[in-house]
């Protein structure tokens, strides 16, 4: 077994970032990127539960064809709020603000992000945006759909559009600040020897994500601001009475909100690249292709927003160009999927919980991506626009993609974050339950949508009931599956087995310091002399694999 050199201090009586200081104040005023990551982890988990409650209400209502549980007005609010909470307050910050915050400095051998105070500020901004949005929900809710299309949102809706918009506007700045911090950190804070092409792919994907964050978020910020002022002053640039163009809103909105999908899925792809390489104990196949495909996705992602406007009075020629460009995004995405698959080939694969999520990601992301090609085709899109086909498609990307990557990453780095092992048996079990529940929820929606069931209605023709019953059943399994890790991860913080510095026996820098790490991450500045994913020769690998299995099997009875 190849022993990876570590930079940690002798284990006895070691001070780490969790026990370095105690008290609420030491957390609320911390500038440590690891503690801020945990603050984010707590808050996004809260918002995830809120969004999950709305999802359950939706699935309960759709169990029967009649609109019996919720009135149509309430249903409009429920799906709007599900979307707003899940997208702006869970998915967008999920991986970057928690795992990214924790790991970006550790993986490049830095003591912290470049701007620790701005990092803490971003959490407070996020929280302020979240509180204002929660206020909007409690005061009476929003019913515009998470897309806030004008003129409904500016003129006709009687719900709390300005408050919800303000919440999103504010939380957008937390995303901008996180992206800014990552870009500067990756450029200026790499340890000696950590060249660009030695960076773990997690870093490359976060770099690409940060580019989208800083380039896209300001545009949606000004758009929502203009919308709020338009609603206040009863006149504005989107108002047709003034000669304004409501479609301009859609252009500006999707200029951010399509790339925002890549904010959600790119970090997930970074996690999956780590998991696939490390749990196959092989260097990733085509490192540079995987790295640059992240940048390519970020760049192409900005050129495809028009595919949300195929049925919104956009010219056919613009539609053709946007259709072509949307197909082009499939290329870097496919490069990733093929390279992950090639990495698995002849790898020494172990099916630990994180790897199950990673493999699930590949399958589900492929389904989500392929159905995206249906939607990028002009003619088919006219048929399935605003149906459950679209709902199923983007949930495959956002849940099957982003959420699976997040859960996989959370398990994988949990020993580093908490210093404890999670129970492996329960982990695998819940990963399977979540996978089954997810597919049962969203696969029937493809069919229902293709047959013509429109989205955003609380009642539907009875012939769609079978798909909806299946979907609601799947949602309960999914919800149950998600409860399991929520319980055992909290449980493991106190009762889990103590984790060693490098429980998976991996070469990455974050594994070469103690678990949990000391406040300054590395007590001496590490000098990097190895490539990313540089494993020992294959014959030694097998030994490592067996030893690892013996060590890591958690007793599950």
């Amino acid at each position: 077994m190849k022993a990876f050199e570590t930079f940690e201090t002798p284990a006895a009586a070691r001070v780490n970032y969790i026990n370095a200081q105690y008290g609420l104040k030491s957390w609320l005023l911390t500038k440590d990127h690891k503690r801020i990551a945990l603050l984010y982890l707590g808050s996004i988990s809260f918002f995830f539960m809120v969004g999950g409650v709305y999802a359950m209400l939706i699935r309960l209502e759709l169990l029967t064809p009649q609109g019996d549980l919720l009135s149509s007005a309430t249903y409009n609010k429920v799906f709007t709020q599900h979307g707003i909470i899940m997208i702006f307050f869970f998915l967008i910050p999920s991986i970057p603000a928690t795992l990214g915050n924790f790991l970006v400095p550790m993986m490049i051998g830095a003591k912290d992000l470049a701007f620790p105070r701005i990092n803490l500020l971003s959490w407070y901004i996020y929280l302020l945006g979240g509180i204002i949005t929660i206020y909007a929900l409690l005061a009476g809710g929003v019913d515009t759909g998470w897309t806030f299309y004008v003129p409904y949102s500016t003129t006709f809706s009687n719900s709390y559009v300005i408050a919800a918009g303000l919440g999103i506007f504010i939380s957008g700045f937390s995303s901008i600040l996180t992206g800014l911090n990552f870009i500067v950190t990756i450029h200026t804070m790499r340890a000696p020897g950590m060249t660009w092409f030695r960076l773990p792919l997690f870093i490359w994907s976060h770099y690409a994500t940060s580019l989208v964050m800083i380039l896209g978020t300001p545009v949606v910020a000004i758009t929502i601001l203009l919308l709020a002022f338009e609603r206040l002053s009863h006149v504005g640039i989107f108002d047709p009475a003034n000669g304004g163009d409501p479609v301009l809103f859609q252009h500006l909105f999707w200029f951010y909100s399509h790339p925002a999908v890549y904010i959600m899925v790119l970090p997930s792809m970074g996690v999956v690249s780590e998991l696939i390489a490390n749990f196959s104990r092989k260097n990733i196949f085509g490192y540079r292709f995987v790295a640059f495909s992240s940048l390519a996705i970020a760049v192409f992602g900005f050129l495809v927003w028009g595919h949300h406007l195929f049925v919104a009075s956009q010219s056919v020629y613009a539609g053709m160009i946007f259709s072509f460009l949307s197909f082009a995004v499939a290329i870097p995405s496919a490069i990733k999927v093929f390279n992950w698959t090639a990495t698995l080939y002849k790898g020494s694969i172990s099916y630990d919980t994180p790897m199950l999520y990673a493999l699930g990601f590949i399958g589900l992301f492929t389904v989500g991506g392929m159905t995206g090609l249906f939607l990028a085709s002009l003619a088919i899109d006219v048929h399935v626009s605003d149906t459950y086909f679209i709902v199923a498609h983007f949930h495959y990307i956002m849940v099957g993609g982003a959420l699976f990557g997040y859960l996989g990453g959370l398990h994988y780095w949990w020993p580093k974050i908490s210093g404890r092992m999670y129970p492996e048996g329960w982990g695998r079990f819940s990963a399977l339950v979540i996978f089954v529940g997810f597919n049962l929820t969203f696969l029937p929606q493809f069919v229902a949508g293709y047959l013509g069931m429109p989205r955003r209605y609380h009642a539907y023709p009875p012939e769609f009931q079978v798909f909806n019953v299946l979907s609601s059943a799947g949602a309960s399994i999914l919800g149950f599956g998600l409860l399991i890790p929520a319980i055992y991860l909290v449980w493991s913080m106190r009762y889990g087995k103590h984790a060693e510095a490098n429980p998976w026996h991996l070469p990455g820098l974050e594994w070469r310091t103690a678990s949990p790490p000391p406040t300054e991450n590395f007590l001496t500045t590490p000098v990097v002399t190895w490539e990313a994913y540089e494993f020992a020769p294959p014959e030694e690998m097998q030994v490592v694999g067996r030893m690892k299995d013996e060590k890591l099997e958690a007793p599950v009875s």
């Binding site: 830095a110 500067v184 300001p218 545009v219 910020a221 009863h234 006149v235 000669g243 301009l248 300054e520």
Partner: protein
């Protein structure tokens, strides 16, 4: 804080933050951070520039009529004021680099004064628009958008809107919406800039900046120049385009 780090930090500059290796790295990070921030600002203003371009193309006569109603003199004076403030800001950065505390303070005071002058003139312009009921919609309670229109051939009244052929009052309102959105957002950035420079001025007065450590002055300067450049684009777009149509 671990003991291992203190030896390394003992010899270094007091302004060096604990997570940076040396002053050079800290300076680079600060400068890059500001550049990245300015990119986000560019995108922020970009949305409004897009809206402006779209509607200027859609309603050329209306926009020209509204443009002509803006006060060219005040706009031009403000442009000169801002360009001068950029000069004094650049001199402030230079003074910090060479360690001339007296000139640094002088230049910062000049820059802040020029910034406040700009804001004062802008306030006068806004007040004129208020008097002429040109503030769009019902943003100001009790003063809805309701401009007086000058008839063709009537004697010039600078409080009245002179509509070019094909222009309508409703579409002029669109111009004023964009005008207030863009200049308002710009003015907000000016206010933030004045606040930022006041903090820098305070620390300059305390003698914090010198040849080894001046990046806060530098990056505040970057921000200030950016806000100026936005105005350099706003001035011709809002005030100058279509002036030649004035006497049609």
């Amino acid at each position: 804080m671990a003991e291992g780090l203190s030896a390394h930090h003992e010899a270094s500059h007091p302004a060096l933050q604990h997570h940076f290796e040396n002053m050079e790295q800290q300076r680079e990070a600060g400068a890059l951070g500001m550049w990245v921030f300015l990119v986000t600002e560019l995108m922020f203003f970009g949305g409004m520039f897009l809206a402006y371009t779209l509607y200027r193309t859609k309603f050329p006569a209306d926009f020209a009529s509204a443009s002509n109603h803006l006060d060219l003199t005040l706009g031009a004076v403000n442009t000169v004021v801002l360009i001068l403030s950029s000069l004094t800001m650049a001199l402030a950065v230079y003074s910090a680099q060479v360690g001339n505390r007296r000139n640094l303070i002088l230049c910062l005071v000049l820059t802040i004064t020029l910034g406040l002058t700009f804001l004062g003139i802008k306030a006068v312009e806004y007040h004129d628009k208020y008097v002429d009921s040109l503030i769009p919609g019902q943003l100001i309670p009790g003063r809805p958008y309701n401009p007086a229109v000058q008839e063709h051939g009537a004697p010039d009244d600078k409080h009245k809107l002179h509509l070019l052929p094909g222009a309508t009052v409703k579409h002029v309102e669109m111009f004023y919406w964009i005008y207030f959105a863009m200049t308002g957002m710009h003015a907000l950035h000016m206010i933030i800039g004045v606040g930022l420079l006041s903090v820098i001025l305070f620390f300059s007065w305390r003698g914090r900046y010198g040849p080894e450590y001046h990046n806060p002055v530098e990056i505040s300067g970057l921000y200030w120049h950016f806000v100026d450049i936005v105005w350099i684009f706003l001035f011709p777009l809002l005030y100058l385009l279509g002036r030649h149509l004035e006497h049609m």
